[in-house]
């Protein structure tokens, strides 16, 4: 099993979700995060004082899939989350040791 964490631009979430559903991904967890890489933040003003906001809001999608689906998932995310502009995000893939479905106690592939 592989765990795929993708950090994407928030407005891309619906597109990525729909595209993943189409290839058989049945669940995901998302987190609101803030971060920066090469994308700069921006300046804001408050009552005459300027301040810099470095962190840019992003969405982190977490998916666990069988290893043979992993490449397909990464490709789909790469394609649908891309805008071509700085700040598109990153995908991290790791191997998962175990997964458990709480309701039934199933483990492994049947827990995904």
């Amino acid at each position: 099993m592989k765990k795929i964490e993708a950090i994407i631009k928030p407005f891309k979430l619906d597109d990525v979700k729909d595209a993943l559903n189409k290839i058989g991904v049945t669940g995901m967890t998302i987190t609101e995060v803030k971060g920066f890489g090469r994308q700069r933040g921006h300046k804001e003003i408050y009552r005459g004082a300027e301040y810099q906001v470095d962190f840019v809001p992003k969405i982190q999608i977490g998916i666990v899939v069988d290893a043979d689906l992993s490449d397909k998932v990464v490709d789909v995310i790469k394609e649908t989350a891309k805008t071509g502009k700085i700040g598109d995000g990153k995908i991290f893939i790791s191997t998962l040791a175990e997964a458990v479905r709480i309701r039934t106690g199933e483990t492994g592939s049947s827990a995904i």
Partner: protein, 467 residues
């Protein structure tokens, strides 16, 4: 003893002095005094009402921000601030003269610019009357900011705001109300009934809103290519509801204040106003319940406003029973109107076109249908004429205005600005800095436990690429 005599002398002198100034009361001096009390009361009522109508600006601001996303909240506040401020100055400089100045033709006024009717030491009634009228002009102007919310360039909006207060609103207003001061409009001479402005104020705002929404186009992600309508959720229903309550309160100045006189007529106007609002609210709630399966807050709020807008024209000339019917019809009408405009892909985030334009027209018509004097086809005919004249003046004029603004400085923000939010893009601000509003992309979410992710419409990648 000397002290007693001295004090008694002082007292007698005082009494003598006091009475020396009083002429014996005559019928004439009594009449003058009574008239003065009535005049003073007229001033007090008119200006208290003007203050109530001013407070409707707060109502509009809250409704508009409640029904739109958090990332645009500062922008909505700025537009509302400017609507009233620019409106005040525009109406002072130009609008009041066009609307209420002496009019040879009955089509527009030519005197009274920059409040020239007022002379220091002269009759201040013009000031009270102007104050009352300027808050009405500002009401018409601010209706439009709701329909154009979340994608309008601030600079472009400011230009529109000045033109509507200085030109569009006063011209039609003069046709219907010029005779209230120095003017005399052709429409009022035909007997057009619009006591507090269902057409003069609300339809003028509503049709301008329609023009603006059409020229702007819908918000990104609102309508999909395959014809679906995706809801873009407002960020604060309590603020929206607060706004409606404030508007309802302000309307108690809007309608009864239009007597500009302190007399018993205001009682029935108060009652009619309230009953129509209540009926509109209930019927809209019931209609939403039947249509969607649950009583829905947005429609219910719009329903109350629809009732208020509708009763604005007939409020002085219909019975309370009729007021209920008029408000009830408006409540149902507004819901179907909102659905209609979405179907033809005119994006109106707050329902301004339906509440003010459509229900303003209904209210004006109802003044003819439910007139206490009885049903008369010629009266209804004049009402229809007024409704049409308003549309034919306001819609093309504002459409051209918005097109001109669009072609010159631009009316709509760029897609990137629309996605990151106007607060940041136009004002370098953040209305809710303590909240992790992940809105820089179109999706509004709140942080904290239990905050559900909204089913918000998001821009499709194609829309962004295409920009």
């Amino acid at each position: 003893m000397k002290k007693v005599i001295f004090i008694s002398l002082i007292l007698v002198l005082n009494f003598a002095l006091a009475w020396a100034g009083d002429e014996p009361a005559t019928v004439e001096s009594n009449r003058t005094a009574i008239d003065l009390v009535q005049t003073n009361a007229d001033y007090v009522w008119t200006l208290v009402a003007a203050a109530l109508v001013f407070f409707m600006q707060a109502g509009f601001a809250m409704v508009e921000t409640g029904f739109t996303r958090a990332k645009n909240a500062i922008n909505i506040m700025m537009k509302n601030l400017m609507d009233f401020s620019i409106g005040s100055l525009g109406f002072f400089a130009i609008g009041f003269g066009l609307m209420f100045g002496e009019s040879a033709t009955g089509w527009f006024g030519t005197t009274g610019f920059f409040l020239s009717d007022f002379k220091i030491g002269g009759d201040p009634w013009v000031l009270a009357f102007w104050m009352f009228q300027v808050v009405f002009a500002a009401t018409a102007a601010t209706i439009v900011s709701g329909a154009m919310a979340e994608r309008t360039k601030f600079s472009g909006y400011l230009i529109y705001s000045f033109v509507i207060s200085a030109l569009v609103y006063p011209i039609f207003g003069g046709w219907a109300w010029g005779g209230l001061f120095n003017g005399g409009g052709w429409l009022e001479k035909l007997g057009f009934i619009d006591f507090a402005g269902s057409t003069v104020v609300h339809s003028v705002g509503g049709w301008s809103a329609l023009a603006g929404a059409i020229v702007l186009g819908p918000r990104m992600g609102k309508y999909t290519k395959d014809g679906r309508i995706k809801p873009i959720l407002g960020h604060n229903m309590p603020l929206a509801a607060l706004g409606v309550f404030i508007l309802w309160l302000g309307w108690f100045g809007f309608n009864p204040g239009s007597t500009t006189a302190a007399n018993k007529d205001i009682a029935m106007i108060f009652v009619n106003t309230n009953l129509a609002a209540a009926a509109g609210c209930i019927l809209a709630m019931l209609a939403s319940w039947l249509k969607f399966g649950k009583p829905e807050i947005g429609m219910s709020l719009n329903g109350a406003l629809a009732g208020l807008v509708a009763i604005t024209s007939p409020c002085a000339t219909v019975t309370p029973g009729s007021a209920i019917i008029i408000g009830a019809v408006a409540g149902v009408l507004v819901m179907f109107s909102v659905l209609f405009f979405d179907k033809i892909r005119v994006d109106d985030p707050v329902g301004a076109i339906s509440v003010h334009g459509v229900c303003g027209a209904w209210g004006t018509l109802s003044a003819g249908i439910f007139a206490i004097d009885g049903l008369s086809l010629s009266v209804i005919g004049v009402q229809l004429l007024g409704i049409a004249a308003c549309f034919l003046w306001v819609f093309p004029t504002t459409f051209i205005l918005f097109k001109l603004i669009d072609k010159t400085i631009g009316l709509r923000v760029s897609p990137e600005e629309e996605l990151e939010g106007l607060d940041l893009a136009e004002h370098a601000g953040n209305a809710y800095p303590d909240f992790e509003v992940s809105s820089y992309g179109g999706m509004v979410t709140g942080s904290g436990p239990g905050s559900a992710l909204p089913q918000t419409a998001l821009a499709t990648s194609k829309q962004v690429e295409a920009s």
